[in-house]
Symmetry: C2
């Protein structure tokens, strides 16, 4: 039995891998704001203006001078003349909506509900302090403040903030290019003629989609047969063109460890971990060749997903330039059925999380084989059973990492 | 005080709105698989083949005939001749890797760890039952089974499953087109010259990005001034071109209710709710004109986000053809600070969720005004304070809806 004699823990394998893989040189590119969505910021965004730029009303109401509201009460309201101008004089008020600039001379706003229209003006029955119901200039973001730092994933709110500063463009990191290579004599391209004992290669599509979802740029390296020369040649091309390569197939607990073997031949340091104490995905291998990381996934789709989740995801997050690994959201749910697992292996259990009577339940859907991609489409998350546990009990509260949304059928918020 | 006299609850407003807005006619289009990522399935995907297509080994090991393993034990292992062929005869074994087709004549696989190489063959010390360690033809997906239903959001695993059935294309619903119109005399296009008391219009960019993130196609309708004719004209154009329209600004608790006013003029039934018992976002209005829904958001960015979250999100999920509303993932976290809220209002509190000592904490970041977009970029989720609560206590466990990932800096899984 070649390949590996002893298994490495998931944590240790990841550490070995990230330590051996040098950080990618992060180049920045400038993009216009709408296209910066979901990209990773490559610069400090510094406010060159105050936000808000001027004092403005924080409510709908009447801008007044606070001195004129002194001692106002419900029993002794103060009367103001309503004017239409841009400034407020003594005992004058100007109606303002939320966001309107404060009229000159005013220093507070009486809320609509604390005032009443009367013949020739309004009555106000609260005493205001200066700045009451006013958003002061620079209160949100003072001029000179660093509002966003490099390594931030830009969502809609970030774009709005950058736009509020008057900027139309922003520097983001170039997307890492991740080469995706499938290996196996049994593989046929999807839609091509399938010969007996052949299967369609779905791993390239799936792994490429997972890279794309994270914000990397997948590069299709095609399918290599189970041949050392062919794999070597295609892998080298991938390493030349891409920032990282992910392969599927050609790694096992047995003798068909073609990809790790090839990797060991084409460069240094080669394989840094092979054989991981997890299930599925035990044959996963991790390598670095000439400064480029290679994630060698099982050809088995579910095992490939698990290997991607534990190793490719942190790697890609780092290559994107993010401050750290973006974690899947974790929700607590009650397990509807018992689950078995092997002691000493981190076990990945696919579950479908759903609401029932105000409580979240997780139904295991991985009873069937690890090759069954349909168990992943039936699931919306996974539970990791720790190495020191032998299965999970029915009714136990578990932490579920969600990979797709929980869909709520009823109309409710 | 025009506009609205009494507030509608969030739940009731949403129900009124979705009831008044007719369901969009969902047209299907055919796309090739990689481009189906994140789209919504418009057909039943039925397996026209078994998956797997043939019996295959579920493990690395040796394919044998079970009858030859009868009574095998560690003390009395059975000996097999190792052959290289595609069939297994009596007392013969063929080495197989996970996923290999079962050699003719074999009906089970002895795992590597239950066998040992010996002179001229192998010894197996377990008695196997037929089908042991074999993925049987059709076991994952039997021919004829409906594996995916319309209304499913397609992720990487779904694409892999569809591809495994040999399909290169799939029918998805056309994306809904959502027109986005900003209103307000104070608005200037981002990057243009800003006159005194003007602000950059960031809401169009933000709302468009939020629509895009959900999978809708945003249509830019531009900026309308605070003018009934202009708003009416641009709104009508939007209703003609788009499946729904979202506006920002021109709605208030006071007198500047231009957009609801215009909507009431241009078609039936017009405004179905105006003034929602929530904070921020109270001036939000919901309307339907000639069968097209209109979400009228506050011009205040944070209030616009809240209105979008509660009303535009469920609407767009429905217009996408999803089975229901995709919920934000909800995590439980301990509140680090007290939060105040008004009784009778659903209050939206922005929080930043982070791990500390193995526990999730939520730090409120909405101390400042609701106009402060920076409070959203500092946050990664929100807590909703129910109408019947007056604030939340420090240390209280709250449910946080996440709108971006929790980033884990340390290397760990």
């Amino acid at each position: 039995m070649k390949g590996f004699q002893k298994l490495t823990s998931v944590d240790q394998a990841l550490q070995l891998f990230l330590k051996a893989a040098p950080a990618r040189k992060l180049n920045a590119e400038t993009v216009v704001l709408p296209f910066a969505l979901n990209r990773v910021l490559a610069e400090d965004v510094i406010a060159d203006e105050n936000l808000p730029r001027f004092d403005k009303s924080a409510v709908d109401g009447y801008a007044v001078r606070t001195e004129d509201t002194a001692n106002a009460s419900q029993f002794r309201p103060k009367t103001f003349a309503l004017t239409e101008g841009k400034s407020v004089g003594r005992k004058q008020a100007v109606q303002v909506s939320t966001g309107n600039p404060m009229p000159e001379g005013s220093d507070a706003v009486a809320m609509l509900e604390n005032a009443k229209r009367v013949e020739g003006g309004i009555e106000v029955w609260v005493a205001l302090t200066p700045g009451a119901n006013v958003s002061l200039k620079g209160e949100d973001v003072p001029k000179g403040k660093t509002v966003l730092e490099p390594g931030t994933r830009l969502g809609p709110y970030h774009l709005a903030l950058i736009g509020a500063l008057g900027r139309t463009k922003v520097k983001v990191y170039e997307r890492p290019v991740v080469g995706v290579l499938a290996t196996g004599n049994e593989l046929t391209k999807i839609g091509h003629k399938l010969h007996p004992n052949q299967i369609f290669d779905t791993n390239r599509l799936m792994v490429s989609s997972m890279c794309f979802e994270l914000g990397a740029e997948p590069l299709d390296l095609g399918i290599a047969g189970d041949d050392v020369e062919e794999i070597g040649c295609m892998l080298k091309e991938g390493l030349r063109k891409a920032d990282a390569v992910i392969t599927t197939g050609g790694t096992s607990v047995g003798e068909a460890d073609l990809v790790p073997e090839v990797v060991g031949r084409i460069g240094k340091p080669g394989v840094v971990a092979h054989g991981v104490a997890m299930r599925p995905g035990m044959p996963t291998a991790l390598a670095v060749v000439d400064g480029k990381p290679i994630v060698i996934l099982s050809g088995n789709p579910v095992a490939a997903v698990v290997g991607f989740e534990f190793f490719a995801r942190p790697l890609i997050c780092r290559q994107l330039g993010l401050k750290g690994t973006e974690l899947r959201p974790v929700v607590k749910a009650r397990l509807t059925n018992r689950v078995t697992s092997a002691l000493g292996r981190k076990t990945f259990v696919r579950v479908c999380v759903h609401w029932e009577g105000g409580e979240l339940f997780a139904r295991p859907v991985s009873a069937r084989g690890s090759g069954a991609i349909s168990t992943l489409t039936e699931a919306n998350g996974y539970v990791v059973v720790a190495e020191n546990r032998e299965g999970l009990e029915e009714g136990e509260t578990v932490s579920v990492s969600l990979f797709s949304s929980i869909v709520e059928a009823k109309v409710s918020v």
